[in-house]
Symmetry: D2
Subunit: 341 residues, 4 copies
């Protein structure tokens, strides 16, 4: 009954096996390993982007911050949702990597940026040399509220940004869950919808700590490589990142893991919605459920070993429940039983 | 016959086994895992430093740059050997993480900083508000030339720095090899010799990508944690770093791996020294051999599959040969046979 | 009828005369000039702060950004009003100088931060290593809305910040106007009210481009000096800054200039308030008037040569009118006549 | 007998008069003043560069650091002479403004970079992602040793840099003195010789603190403006900078002032060379004399009120003597009399 975060899960056996296979012999370091070639080919094919530059790093914060820094100047404003991971959970990594760009929070219900709010923020920003300039758009899908954008919703926001010449980033820490939830294709949810650079998260969906950055415009690739090295994120024994990512992408493992997590999320949401004393806060569209659980129900669940986060309201009694590839139906059902009281 | 770098080796079976064990169940993320508690306890004990702060990151560049930034202000000069990894091989990561500190190269034979050269550099630096200020000392052991400092040699240099109030860093990317080579204790080669912060490298000696930073003065610990997070180096599924480091430190595995690498280095050095057309450049004190190999010998070895780096001279015909925990006597002997012609 | 900005005015004859006097002979550079000694003594005396460190720079943005950077770490949040000059008008200079700190906007009516809003922002910030940390408070007086804080109002805000251990900055680009408006003493409006560092603006009140930074805790003085030099703000022929500041502080010239500007502001406000079609937006407490002027009135005034800024609403028809030391009653009355139609 | 620095001199009466004239009335701020238009036109004409972007700042360090940052990425190496002002006298401003670029010192006799040394430094740098990349060339003329490059010498160095695609900066803190010394035209010593951006110093040659940055490729102009603002170097009452620069450029005042300083330098050098106990270190080509003066001669001169800097050798007994626009023949002759003993 561990619903605190999807980064507290382990990795499936396919990944351990891939590491063991990759361990043999001497292999070129710093990304020149043959498995990275395989990863690159696979991602280009999955994304229908034969020119895309593909890189691996060990953390989502690194993926996001390096992606932003490669596209946004130090004097740029990065428009992001007020609850975005880059704004709330990275201790200023975007500011650090960009050399002092500013995050401009844009509101919107359910974790999704409202187009009108983005338009207003764009209009307010960069009107003279005295203020920071319009720099970049950063969206998150699955959002921090467990909702998703479909391709049209992403496209509506990127269109506003691109009309001002801004590049667009997608924080896809739970990108596989978003693909499953929307039924969109990788290309449909990214470059076809106006995204220039994607943080493609593996860690929350079954890897030990591997994230890809996919840059659809390869002109920025070399700059990204230098920033990655300079940030200490170019891993020497790179084969261990490549091996995990290659195995994850093989035969749709990434999507199967995400589909399972989403199914568990839906089961959990359905159950919570049915509990008289509880209630859903956001429509649960992927593997995260935001709900209201009265104190008594929370205490009961915790006494029985359940783990999850209380959220500062409003609303009161809010909790976040995250399912992962390793969540079981038994976990979900046991938790629902406890909550129902 | 792979002598190009110790970061092209895999990891020993103990490490794979540790990862598999650590994979079970749900574990608190971001360093709150129980295995990290074990790592901390073990390092404090090995270093006789019960107050030391201990952190793990995935790359040596991150370990070095974060260590420097936690002790050196943006206007500081970091005194380091002209061939130091931080100067030559990190694409400016120290400058990036410190916010623009300056590396001041200090010369010295055999990769070791000459005390007189350090004294001169200190005297030249920071004489007024117009220049960068004396900031920090950074030493490397094993050095980039394959030599080592013994505790007295480190103490002689740190004493000069400490007399100016400067903190002292040790880049120990090959620290285990240095311990074996000098016979010094971990404390003797670090804080007892005036070192404030150590980059303790695991990757080049049998891990997949795990380095510890050991801060002997815990007053800097929280700042380090914030810099690590902000740099994107706080790994969420931290258990996989902890597990590797814990296994590496258990029962002296780290020292056995290093001792083997050093023995292979010595065997290689002895063999090369005996080859009429070759010759050693630096005294090989750990697992790296710097030698002269004529073009014909190099070509012969490479045709047979040997891998190693040619170095820009002087001297001409210089090569670097690196042994690791996985180098075999057969590798060494086959290579020597080829070189001898 | 120039009400666009107080930085479009010239300087009074006393300042030109001081420059001419200071021009004679050879004088030590970089702040070692005797006039700077006089400035330092005078400011320490005026502020009843015998230990204060005092520095001059040429711009208000430099004063603010250097002051912030000397007290706030790169991972810190600077709490400031949403309309603060540091947030809106410095193109990210605070982010640049601090190495990436984050400005956290705090709301409040009339340009003044609401204590409850500050308390909420403090409570939300820095709860773990994952977010930026509480770093610093920055207030502005005269505010960007032309209002002032009295010492008690400043003290109420600094008390909240100091309870969290945060240093407090006052952007006093119009500090002399604030002194005149509140009747407070320099000490009363600064360190006695909990301010650690003050940007004391001269430029908007009769100098060519001279601002003082007054650091009440001299422990940060040397760091400030290094940051100033490194920022390119240590002026070599410093005597010309000193001479202006010394003359400005002599015999209360700074207060006389400010009192005149405030009187003109009051006259203008009184007149605008009496115009049926117009109306005041904020209570005009110093030299700036925020009013509503219908389009016809604005057009009429501009045709006759008046200069002032239209503001994006709400409210609609908003304008900013700024008086300075050189504004005349005739200017004000002519403008009022035009507006009245 | 003040030979310590040309920044300890005052300004000629033309400059005071220009300030007084510029003081009248209300003028648009932040560089939109009509006098700046005049400055721009004049500099474009003098440099035969009708497209050049021209900006004013208050210090030479700002001019240099902003110029470098506008052309060199954070991971770039700036190749400069080992004694360059940017390396020795700016407390790391280049590192700060560029976001951590590295200064790579290049040797050469008499303050002039040796082409072979530059070629070697270029060849050593940027060979892979692991090291900093070739970023920019920065030359200084008049050099820190009081010598000059002629256009051909500049062209020989910029040709090496441009072959690698690097932009080239000229630190012209004493550019007028260099023009007079070489007889070159402004265009000849800059863009025709391969220079992309010039720091054109006024302060050391008769202004209160005004430097122009001339960017021959206007594509970088907007970036420069943003960096200037963000660095706190966009002066609000800009007319006072413009007025000085306009007056300085009018009717060749800048060249007359420099010619006088150079003549005084030559007179001083000739005199010193004739003193048996003294001797010139570098050929004095502009307004600075580097000489050997025995301790007794130095003491004698200082007792009589002379001011100048002793330099750390070698050679021993080295001093720097700087003449300016305000140095008189009487000063020089009195000093020579004292030195001769």
């Amino acid at each position: 009954m561990f619903f605190a975060s999807d980064n507290s899960s382990g990795v499936p056996p396919e990944i351990l096996a891939a590491l063991a296979r990759a361990n043999a012999g001497y292999v070129a370091s710093y990304g020149a390993d043959p498995l990275m070639e395989e990863v690159r080919t696979r991602i280009r094919s999955l994304f229908e982007a034969p020119e895309a530059a593909v890189y691996l790093v060990a953390t989502g914060t690194a993926a996001n911050a390096l992606a932003l820094a490669s596209f946004c100047p130090p004097w740029g404003a990065v428009f992001c949702h007020a609850q975005a991971h880059i704004a709330e959970d990275e201790c200023g990594a975007p500011e650090f990597y960009t050399g002092g760009a500013r995050l401009v929070p844009v509101e919107g219900a359910g974790g999704r940026m409202a187009p009108a709010a983005l338009a207003a923020a764009l209009a307010r920003t960069g009107t003279s040399v005295h203020g920071v300039q319009r720099g970049m758009l950063s969206l998150t899908c699955v959002t921090e509220a467990g909702t998703v954008y479909d391709p049209a919703a992403i496209g509506a926001l990127t269109a506003l940004a691109r009309a001002e010449g801004l590049p667009c980033h997608l924080d896809g820490a739970r990108f596989a869950n978003a693909l499953v939830a929307t039924g969109a294709s990788p290309a449909g949810l990214t470059w076809r919808a106006g995204i220039d650079v994607l943080s493609l998260g593996g860690t929350k969906n079954g890897l030990m700590g591997v994230e890809a950055v996919v840059i659809f415009d390869p002109a920025r690739a070399w700059e990204f490589e230098l920033r990655r090295k300079r940030g200490g994120h170019l891993v020497s024994k790179h084969r261990y990142l490549s091996a995990q990512m290659a195995a994850w992408l093989e035969d749709g493992l990434w999507l199967r893991l995400a589909a399972h997590a989403n199914r568990m999320g839906a089961r959990l949401a359905q159950g919570v919605a049915a509990v008289p004393v509880a209630g859903l806060i956001h429509p649960p569209e992927a593997n995260m459920v935001f709900a209201r659980l009265p104190a008594a129900a929370r205490a009961r669940a915790r006494r029985a070993g359940a783990a999850f986060y209380d959220l500062p309201g409003p609303p009161a009694d809010a909790v976040r429940l995250v399912c992962s590839w390793s969540t079981t139906e038994a976990d979900v059902d046991a938790f629902l039983g406890l909550v129902a009281g």
